[in-house]
């Protein structure tokens, strides 16, 4: 559905994207992970035709991103971090503007507000919404015309865990409906929970790509099992046949409190590949 080959982009002589290759199949959630300034938003803007690129090719709906038509744009829904809402309008009136543009029946407005959990806030002015509610209103706007591809740029950035969870549920529901979702985030838990495939973007380069679990297994160099015993002692055993007997004994004796394998999480993988933390800009 989306295919990028060798995409390059520079601003004022500074290269911000270099040799970007990716394929995003239909009906999947693709996560682009990287710290702030890695080039995530620039890539979304390129794929959605908002921004040109210097080299390579970007195909979406089998068409060059530069040549997207108005009808193609209607098949795309974009929620960018910095996209605003009409502050003086109620939630319902905000969506009415886009219902008029897309030719969507007004009946879909309340349905969409219910979907994102803003049913009770339909008449509330956008200026009175909390950050989480505002993010959900932006999501509702994206869903108004039932786009085939959703681009969600840091959709849960700065939100409380409850709002994050609500948005995750909506995203997964959309995937079940068959939508293709392109998600950028620097939250590795979010990426792990939602994405079928992730690409790790650092300083304009994709350093690795794959399913989250695959990537974590791929960079599991320690291959150990950590066991915390009821006695308070912690032991680390090699993850192999040689440890099976010892682990079995500990389990049988009931002395195991917790047991974990040592594969890294996406944050650790990213740190290993780039020497940087995904969320370092937030700290």
């Amino acid at each position: 559905m989306i295919r990028c080959r060798g995409v390059e982009k520079s601003f004022s002589g500074k290269k911000v994207l270099s040799g970007i290759d990716m394929d995003i199949p239909e009906g999947k959630i693709f996560g682009l992970l990287g710290p702030s300034g890695a080039g995530k938003t620039t890539l979304i803007r390129i794929i959605t035709g908002q921004l040109g690129y210097d080299a390579g090719s970007v195909n979406i709906f089998d068409r060059e991103a530069r040549e997207l038509t108005r009808d193609d744009n209607k098949k795309i829904g974009i929620m960018m971090d910095d996209f605003g809402v009409y502050e003086r309008f109620s939630c319902r009136d905000n969506l009415k503007v886009f219902a008029d543009i897309y030719g969507t029946p007004y009946g879909k407005i309340d349905e969409t507000l219910e979907l994102v959990g803003l049913g009770d806030a339909a008449k509330k002015s956008a200026s009175d919404l909390s950050k989480g509610m505002r993010a959900r209103l932006q999501l509702a706007r994206v869903f108004m015309h039932s786009p085939e591809i959703l681009f969600l740029d840091e959709p849960t950035s700065g939100l409380d865990p409850r709002s994050q969870k609500a948005i995750h549920r909506i995203i997964l529901d959309k995937k079940k409906e068959g939508r293709t979702i392109f998600l950028t985030t620097h939250n590795m838990e979010e990426a792990h929970a939602l994405c079928d495939t992730v690409a790790l973007l650092n300083e304009g380069h994709i350093v690795d790509t794959g399913a989250p679990d695959e990537l974590c297994r791929k960079y599991d160099h320690k291959k150990t099992i950590s066991i915390h015993l009821r006695s308070g002692e912690s032991i680390e055993l090699a993850c192999g046949a040689e440890s099976a007997e010892r682990i079995g004994e500990l389990m049988k004796s009931g002395s195991v409190e917790t047991i974990h394998s040592s594969e890294p999480n996406l944050e650790t993988v990213f740190l290993e590949l780039t020497g940087k933390k995904l969320e370092e800009d937030d700290k």
């Binding site: 744009n73 309008f89 897309y102």
Partner: protein, 228 residues
């Protein structure tokens, strides 16, 4: 056409909630009605306040409305959302301009209630032309400015010159000599005489040059900065 109507509809709804813009539209028509009925002085020309406020209305309301609407949408990034939804820049600008022009013409209609019926079409024509030039200048400022604060800073001196120079020109010959090169002063003279004879060929040329300059400035700003 559908998108232009959507923008007009959105703006009309917003006007009722956007008090600073709403005041711009109703202030001069309301003041005209009040002053024409409340103040009657000996030797005061007929319809003095109508003619004075009409020109101030041209120089203020469309200019501030177009600049502030465009710069606010740019600053809040709602304009980019509209563009991504398939609204083309020219559709957006036409919608905003049409909305401002329609509301200003409604205001001009209220100001015209004291005029002789035979003068109303000419008065509305002059006002309509003046509004178009002011909308273009306001759009130029709105497109050029990065945000609302810059837009207000750029707009204030322009607005002061356009709306107040015709009034000050009545009291000071030197100001009058400078003000005659501004379209609002030419429009004031036109409204004073209720005929284009009031400005002559040189006045018509000044009006045309002002209109062309506003158009050129608008296109330069649009070509250079677009609506991003």
């Amino acid at each position: 056409m559908k998108n232009i109507l959507t923008i007009i509809k959105k703006q009309i709804k917003d006007t009722l909630k956007n008090k600073p813009v709403l005041i711009q539209f109703i202030m001069f028509p309301a003041m005209t009605l009040i002053m024409e009925n409340a103040i009657k002085l000996k030797d005061m020309p007929d319809l003095f306040f109508t003619k004075l406020f009409a020109v101030m209305y041209i120089g203020m309301a469309p200019l501030t409305a177009s600049a502030s609407i465009i710069s606010e949408e740019k600053e809040k990034n709602t304009l980019r959302v509209l563009m991504m939804a398939g609204v083309r820049p020219w559709e957006y600008l036409t919608g905003v301009a049409a909305y401002i022009w329609i509301l200003c013409m409604a205001g001009a209609g209220i100001m015209a209630v004291g005029l002789d019926a035979k003068d109303v079409p000419f008065f509305m024509l002059v006002m309509g032309v003046g509004f178009i030039i002011s909308i273009l200048i306001g759009a130029f400022v709105g497109i050029f400015a990065k945000n609302q604060m810059v837009s207000t800073s750029l707009m204030m001196p322009v607005m002061m010159i356009l709306s107040f120079s015709p009034m000050l020109a009545m009291f000071n010959d030197k100001i009058e000599k400078a003000a005659r090169f501004v379209y609002t002063q030419q429009l004031r003279q036109t409204v004073d005489h209720m005929s284009f004879d009031g400005i002559g060929n040189s006045g018509a040329l000044i009006l045309a040059v002002n209109a062309a300059a506003a158009l050129v400035l608008f296109f330069i700003a649009f070509k250079k900065k677009g609506l991003e």
